[in-house]
Subunit: 172 residues, 2 copies
């Protein structure tokens, strides 16, 4: 018993980042992105863009469409593509920002529900995500997070171009 306790403690203390910390990190970023969505005027959220890029509504919906089948794929090994039967896959663009925020909050709950089901050793397993991208699970999860930071940074430029001050980047 004593040896196994020591080993368990040792494991915890030498984690670069624990599973729980990574969940909190992701949800912290998602909380900031939610406030960026709220910072847009209703019409500009759906229509404003620069240089032929997608609107922030399109970018936010990409995050929604990636996150739920993503976390389900991580947990179940079933990577449903956009053509799949999942309620979030292929979900149509809502007509209002309020509905996008409701979807956002549903995703927050889905992630919180699925995340604790990731077995500790699974982060290092290599899997083909969405039938296309072969990477360790940790790397696939970082892709979800990094992709969100990347597109949210673009949303900051849209807001500045509209004369709106975005939320502070360091507040999560």
């Amino acid at each position: 018993m004593e040896t196994s306790t020591v080993a368990a403690n040792s494991r915890t203390s030498t984690q670069v980042i624990t599973s729980e910390q990574l969940l909190k990190h992701w949800q912290g970023h998602r909380n900031l992105t939610r406030r960026v969505i709220e910072a847009f005027p209703e019409d500009e959220f759906f229509k404003f863009s620069i240089g032929g890029m997608r609107t922030f509504a399109d970018l936010a919906m990409e995050m929604v469409r990636m996150a739920v089948p993503g976390i389900r794929g991580v947990v179940t090994g079933k990577w449903e593509t956009a053509e799949g039967a999942d309620i979030f896959n292929g979900v149509a663009m809502p007509a209002t920002r309020k509905e996008v925020l409701q979807l956002w909050d549903n995703v927050t709950k889905e992630i919180d529900t699925f995340w604790p089901q990731i077995p500790a050793q699974h982060f290092q397993d290599v899997e083909v995500a969405f039938g296309q991208w072969e990477n360790p699970i940790y790397s696939t999860i970082f892709y979800f997070i990094d992709n969100e930071i990347h597109h949210r940074g673009q949303g900051y430029v849209y807001l500045r171009a509209l004369g709106i001050e975005p939320p502070h980047f360091y507040e999560r």
Copy 2:
């Protein structure tokens, strides 16, 4: 001996992300940012901006100025501020993009040199980075990376506004 080997293997297999993997993750992002710097025309790199934001030269130099005292602080516990004596701190904006790229490559080597000196258990230590931000070391390192992704995403909008196709986000 056998018990300690089992414990060590167990530690490795249950890491969410190892120290070496996190280094590779950061340097992969830095490699992409380097290509974004290269994608800018020389003059626009130093002068183009949208909505009163900083130029991409300013953003790239923020990354340079944060990374080296950052990784040194992580390793040594000495967090030199921009007023410090470090050669990278307070370093003036170079006159050419080529010189920025040379600084960038110096930073790459500094990170590679310092990183392996981070003790395994140190990622979970809480420290006040740069005399201001009290966080676990892993969180401080993620701030360096996330801040770079955030500002690089803004550089993508600048490039698109200039009619230039940025490098693929998923290529590191």
